[in-house]
Every structure is written in structure tokens, then in C-alpha cells.
Amino acid sequence: MDTNTIDPGSTAWMLTSSALVLLMVPGLALFYGGMVRKKNVLTTMMMSFVAMAIVGVQWVVAGYALAFGKSLGGFIGWDWGLVALKDVPHTRLFADKAIPELVFVMFQGKFAIITPALISGAVAERMRFRSYLAFTILWVTCIYCPLAHWVWADGGWLFKLGVLDFAGGTVVHISAGVSALVLALMLGPRRDLQKGILPNNLVLTLTGAGLLWFGWFGFNAGSAVAAEHPVAGAVAGLAFTTTQSAAAAAGLSWMLVERYHHGKVTSLGLASGIVAGLVAVTPAAGHIHPGSALLLGAAASLVCYAAVQLKGRLGYDDSLDAFGVHGVGGIFGALAVGLLAFTPVEGGLGQLGKQALGVGVAAVFAGLGTFVIASGVKALWGLRIAETEEREGLDLHVHGERGYHFDQV
């Protein structure tokens, strides 16, 4: 196929995938929003929603240039022509792919939007909103863009080493999960943690989990565009199938482990298992067999469940388990693909070593980077809201609204 012509199939699928990935953001907002107390439902959902506004601007202005501009030594991209996308004609194709570059810009932009939103699960119900906004813009610019460049850009140094990350195990989930853990440790636990905090509306959480699963097909099967040359097709189908298989097996596995652990099968558990499976299969989606995906998903739920239980013992408050699910699930999936991969390379100990390097680099870079950024923001404005505001809820104090007025006629 002539690489100078647009492939309508690939382009249509990538446009669709881009929209699907954006749908994950309100999905995440619902997933998280249902888990907090009702006095914080709006601020929790806002922490996901604002990423669409903030990162949506940052990505067009400079984010894309930093992540996918001409590589400067494999460590960061830059190209003045990509600032505000001013020198990207809408007819230009992306690299050797048969889709317009603007479609690729948008697809990648949605990933940049959802990644910092994932972190918000760890800081829910107690972080200052303005500090969160500052943190988000700095984090995407200084952590996400370089990582995306290292792993996904042609000249990126991890990419050249052969680290496999199909749709963002390291770039998205490990970086967000580890950053979430660092922030949770810096913020300290919520004041009422010991009394027991109950979710305000698990109906929202289940709705959100459903939207996440749906959107994840765009996230993973859309990422085939990078793996296939010049058009997407077979690998996209593989990624779609493994995504479905892993999510289903992980949901089932979480149900079983919970039934064994305390005797009940909870709705939050099923929703959490589904997300854990989706996270774990993300780095592996286009590289493994569907049967391997079943095993990967089932095992991911066990590992994430254990991590979440350990949180209680260790005493830190990762409110909604951003680290326990995304960090741990991401690390597990990124390592497992090293053994389970069959395309484009065969899994084995060599590949596992490369994967471990990718995991280590992402975890250390994101962890240290988050510590530095959050320390700066803390010096400027503080990270945590005042005690009275925490007691009365952030919705009223930060946004001047309440989420529910059910009692009013």
C-alpha cells in the first residue's frame, strides 16, 4: 500500500478510538465520584473532568511537541512547528502510517488527559483544588510528556531498547499509580479514615466502570496503529480480544477472592476487578494470546486485591486505590508481557529483563518527579485543605455547590 495515501479504515477507527478514550474520563469521574462521601462527590468528579480542560489545552499548545517532536537525544521531543500545531497541515500523514497526523495528535492527547486524572483517586477528599491544578499541569509537562517520548516516540531511548508497552502500562498506569502513592504519602490520611468511610453512590461507580470498559477498547485496540504498518487491522483485533478476555477474567477472579476472603461478592469488588484486568492487559494487549490474557487478568485481580489489603496494614491512605489498582496492576502487566508475548517478539527472560528496566525507570522517574513537583506546590500553597473544610466537604468550600439536593422539591 502506498504510504502517502490515507487509509479510510484506519483513520475511521482512530477517530472512533480517540473519542472512546475521551469517554473514559467521565467514566473515571463516575467511578471515583461514587466512592467518596457525598460532600466530596463534585470535587472528586471535577478532578477528572478538569484534566479534559487543562491537559486538552496543554497538549495542543506544547504537550504534543514535547512527547512526539523531533527527539533530542532520546530524552525529550521538541519542534517549534508543533507548538499550537501551527505547522501541521491537516492533510499531512503521521510518520509511516496511513492516518492524518492530527488524528494521531488527538488520540495521544486523550491519553495525556486521562493519566493525571487517574492520580486523583489517591488524593480524593483532602487535596487543595488549586494545588491539584498546578500539580496536574506540571506533572503532564514534566513527567508524562518525557515518559511518552521515551517509550513511544521513534527516537525514544526505551523504545530503542525494545521495551514493550502496547497501550500504556508504564507511561500511563505505572507513572500515574506510583505518583499517586507518593502524593498519598505526602498528604497523609483523611481525618475520618479510622471511623470508616463509605461510598456515597456505588451506582455511579458501576456506571463508571462500564464506561471505562467500553472506552478501553479504544485505548487498547486503538493503540494498534503504532504497532501495525502501515494500517491497523489484525493487531487491533488481537488487542480488542485480549482486552475483553482479561477484563472478564479479572472481574470473575476478584469476585472469587472476595467471596473467599470475607464471604460476600460486592459490586465495588466486581468493578475493581474489571478495572484491574483492563490495567494489567494494557501493556500486553497486542502482544499476547487471548488465553494468556485470561490468565493475566485473573492473576492481576489477585495481586491488586492483595495490594489493597496491604494498604490497610501499612496505614497510608490511597483513598480510591489509584496505586493499588493502577500502579500494582500496571507493574504486573508490564512484567507479565515480558514472559507472555508472542508478537512481535517471543517472551522470555531477556524480554522480562527489558520490561523490568522499563518498570523501574517509569516508577523511579514518576516517583521522584512527583515528589519534586508536589514539594514545590506545597511550598507555594500547601497540599492539604484546612481541617474545617475537610470536615464540611470540599464541594461547598471549593466549588460553592453541593452534588445532591434530593430533599428539595
Partner: protein, 114 residues
């Protein structure tokens, strides 16, 4: 004036028992709301990602009915009949004097207005 705190799932039985002793049959006056509180019954346990969280308050249904003196004992018996399971958490009945009743539509007062 009778205020009863009962198990939510016994409301139907209480309503049926009251209908048998009050003059209006199925059409007697009653106010029902859902309340939370604490007595000797312990709260429910919920599970949040494997962590058991004890709910401090128990959900109860509060039934408020105003009756003329002749009906007080009958109403109490009916509520007890409908609400009793024989376990901790069956609830309580509070009886208190009612100073005045006004029907807003007509301005009628006292026993006629009840």
C-alpha cells in the same frame, strides 16, 4: 400522639394492623419517614474493597399518627402486633399528649380535626 420507631420491613404489617383498629380502615391518617439512629441493635457491616466498615447508625422507619384518646391503646397494640419479631431492634413506641390539632383547609380544631 404516637411516634413509633420500627424495622423498615415491618411497616406493611403495622399498617395492616392499624387499619383493623382505626375507624377509617385503609384510609387512616399516618406519616412515615426514614430515619437513622442508634439503640441496642448494632449497625450493619459493609465491605469496601475487602475492608469491613461498621455502619454506626441503623436505618429505621418512623411512624407518626395522631389519634383521639379512645384509640391510643388500640393503636399501640396494633403497632406492637405488626412490628414485633422478638429480637433486639424491634423498635420503640413513644406516646405523648397532643396540645392542639388544626385542619388547615377548614380551620377546624381539636378531636374533629384529627
Amino acid at each position: 400522639m404516637i411516634m413509633a420507631l420500627i424495622r423498615p420491613e415491618r411497616l406493611e404489617a403495622v399498617e395492616e394492623a392499624l387499619a383493623k383498629v382505626l375507624d377509617e380502615g385503609d384510609n387512616y391518617r399516618i406519616t412515615v419517614d426514614t430515619v437513622e439512629g442508634r439503640g441496642r441493635q448494632s449497625g450493619e457491616t459493609e465491605y469496601v474493597r475487602g475492608r469491613a466498615v461498621k455502619v454506626r447508625m441503623v436505618q429505621k422507619t418512623r411512624v407518626t399518627i395522631a389519634v383521639n384518646d379512645a384509640y391510643v391503646e388500640k393503636a399501640i397494640d396494633a403497632i406492637v402486633e405488626g412490628a414485633r419479631e422478638g429480637n433486639v431492634g424491634d423498635g420503640k413506641i413513644f406516646v405523648m399528649p397532643l396540645e392542639e390539632v388544626v385542619r388547615i383547609r377548614t380551620g377546624e380544631r381539636g378531636g374533629k380535626a384529627i
